[in-house]
Point group: C2
Chain length 397, copies 2
């Protein structure tokens, strides 16, 4: 009987109700599900199709019935505000924001090559861009009683997901109050992604979208919002998703000494050609493509590309989204795809192609990985480098 | 007679009424006056004494009579608002902000060593920190008729100085409207520096202080404020103070292609020991001091220091201002001084000491100068490096 019970527990896999995923995704972890699209597909579209948008789950995907779903807004003087999905859709204006999300661990694999780090071995595609629609968090907080009196003591807005581990601990995170309540912060309680209901992997029925802020604070399957004097006490806010000096190791690390990652730094990467790829001499030129993005609403203003390992640089052409108006100042939440077409250097057998981006605060990417290496492998934003071979093809006539 | 006239013009030097300056300043240009303090003095005090605060004048210092001084606020529906110095002091609440100003050309000399650039050859001390008091620009704009209707079309706030060249052209610059009118932007029409009337070199009787923004927008000897749909048309806004790719030269540069510098990127430098200095072996250790600052209200959260040219790093101790409350989030306008005391590596004859800082968006400084070199030599924020010799002193017993 004990054996039977054990088997029944074993077979009740909490991941068994996870959704079916797109076969093109490169899987880093199945349970929880973590996967990224192939880079060359990523840069094909300004808006990433939801099916190939990178997936970063910390826990099993919860199954939420949209009819009985309730969102609780807590910590405000009026008491708890309870909202159904219908309430969220009908009682508040619907806002739409195009925003790029990036995992703190994007490009971690490059840090792993320097020295082993702890975390999923992400390539360069744990970043994607989508259109999100929902109620503004600001509007919901105002409806729940937020006002100048609250601003006196409150400092953070905490989010709790409906996803939980076997012990019942839910995913949680928080953002600074001023981001949450600012007219220009554009924080959404989103119920649509790319014009459709949120997919199960992206937080159905409601997630937070915090434009310009690390993926980890964009809590999915949102169950509770709490206005507080304190940051979220969750593991992911307190003891994870923080940056440290390359000299800090697991014996000496003090997680209290570093701030939780919120806004992300300037980032860019080359999606085409792939590292280790080949270019044909006869083509005479090479086309280099990639993405660039910066956190905090800072707009990418330039991408420099080198074909000779960083000795000389040319300026890439930045492509805006089609039919997208230029973002208001300080609210450039979406990435820019970019492209360069350059003649092949006549003598070269191999190219080291590098990209580096600049944002409108003129922040630049660091040159190399070792000096920004950190034990969790987060914030990996050094210049991106790919090596390609030039092949002398004999196709001819 | 013609000769006489010519001589009289020649001797009427527009700089003849410039104030007397502190003899410790290192002069980069006398007319206009541009000078910086010795680095080791700079890091002696969190608040830089006004006399040694770096001076960056584009034109002769105008002599302004405080009694007849008038400030004009233009471009708003109610017409021109004219304010006397007394009006500014008595009709608006007095606000005090501690803010670091940095010249766009700070550390330009390091770029000059890579390849010649155009501009004053600043060392590492074209940056200083002071306490500024005055009316909030926001309050003055509201009094002058700024409101939601203006926000629909206005995008910039232009400033015009009373300093002019021989042809009568005045210094001018602008900042984005949202910085100017935000409650949290802390932009001041300042009439005090470090608790006293503004010194002549720093804009007496009124200057703009735009915390987190490049020095060039902090217009001194302020004569006019204009709310506009357009940026300032001045040379300094349009055809100067912009960043470019290292591959861009004076033949190919298109000033329209780059945004005017506003928020500055993460910066740090070593003030002690000086480059080329010596450390005595017998002391057994070396004390390294410096400053770190980031634009846009981003707080410096860490400074890494290396004694071995970047192979290994230790974390410096950050020193806050005495009696200063921690800044509200997103409003860290002041620098942090920092210090490290480290044992001398036993074998070394020479040390290459490096510092690099990190702000709360986890932006990092680039490793090296050549990839960020630009024809105007601005935004020079690569890791700062100094070399010192270790001397075997024979003092003994
Ligand atoms: Mo993440
Ligand atoms: Mo400057």
């Amino acid at each position: 009987e004990d054996l039977k019970k054990q088997q029944s527990v074993t077979t009740s896999d909490p991941y068994s109700s996870d959704p079916v995923r797109h076969p093109a995704l490169r899987v880093n972890s199945l349970k929880p599900f973590n996967a990224e699209p192939p880079p060359e597909i990523l840069s094909d579209s300004y808006i990433t199709p939801s099916a190939i948008f990178f997936k970063r789950n910390h826990l099993p995907v919860p199954q939420v019935d949209p009819g009985s779903y309730r969102l609780y807004i807590e910590g405000l003087p009026g008491g708890v505000l309870t909202l159904s999905l219908e309430d969220l859709k009908t009682k508040f204006p619907k806002h739409t924001v195009t925003a790029t999300l990036q995992c703190a661990g994007n490009r971690r694999s490059e840090m792993n090559k320097v020295k082993q780090v702890k975390g999923l071995n992400w390539g360069i595609a744990a970043i994607s861009n989508a259109t999100w629609s929902g109620a503004k968090l600001r509007d919901v907080l105002l409806a729940a009683g937020y006002g100048p009196d609250v601003a006196k003591w409150a400092r953070h807005v905490q989010f709790e997901g409906l996803d939980k581990d076997v012990s019942g601990t839910t995913y949680g995170a928080s953002i600074p109050l001023n981001k949450a309540v600012s007219e220009e912060g554009d924080v959404l309680l989103a119920y649509e992604m790319n014009g459709e209901d949120l997919p199960a992997d992206h937080g159905f029925p409601v997630r937070v979208v915090v434009p310009g802020t690390v993926g980890a604070r964009n809590v999915k399957w949102l169950g509770k919002v709490t206005v507080s004097a304190e940051e979220s006490g969750s593991h992911w806010q307190q003891n994870d998703y923080k940056g440290f000096s390359p000299g800090t190791d697991w014996d000496t690390v003090d997680f209290k000494s570093a701030p939780a990652i919120q806004e992300l730094p300037i980032q860019s990467a080359i999606t085409v050609p792939a590292d280790g790829g080949v270019v044909e001499r006869s083509s005479g030129e090479v086309t280099v493509k990639g993405y660039a993005w910066s956190g905090g609403g800072r707009e990418v203003v330039r991408v420099d590309v080198s074909l000779d390992g960083g000795k000389t640089w040319q300026v890439a052409q930045l492509k805006d989204g089609e039919n997208e108006a230029p973002p208001p100042p300080g609210r450039a939440w979406a990435w820019k795809l970019w492209e360069v077409q350059a003649p092949l250097p006549p003598e070269a057998q191999e190219l080291e192609i590098i990209c580096k981006a600049v944002d409108d605060s003129y922040n630049m990417q660091p040159d190399s990985v070792p000096p920004i290496w950190n034990l969790r492998g987060v914030l990996s934003n050094a210049w991106h480098r790919v090596k390609v071979k030039i092949t002398e093809d004999e196709s001819g006539e």
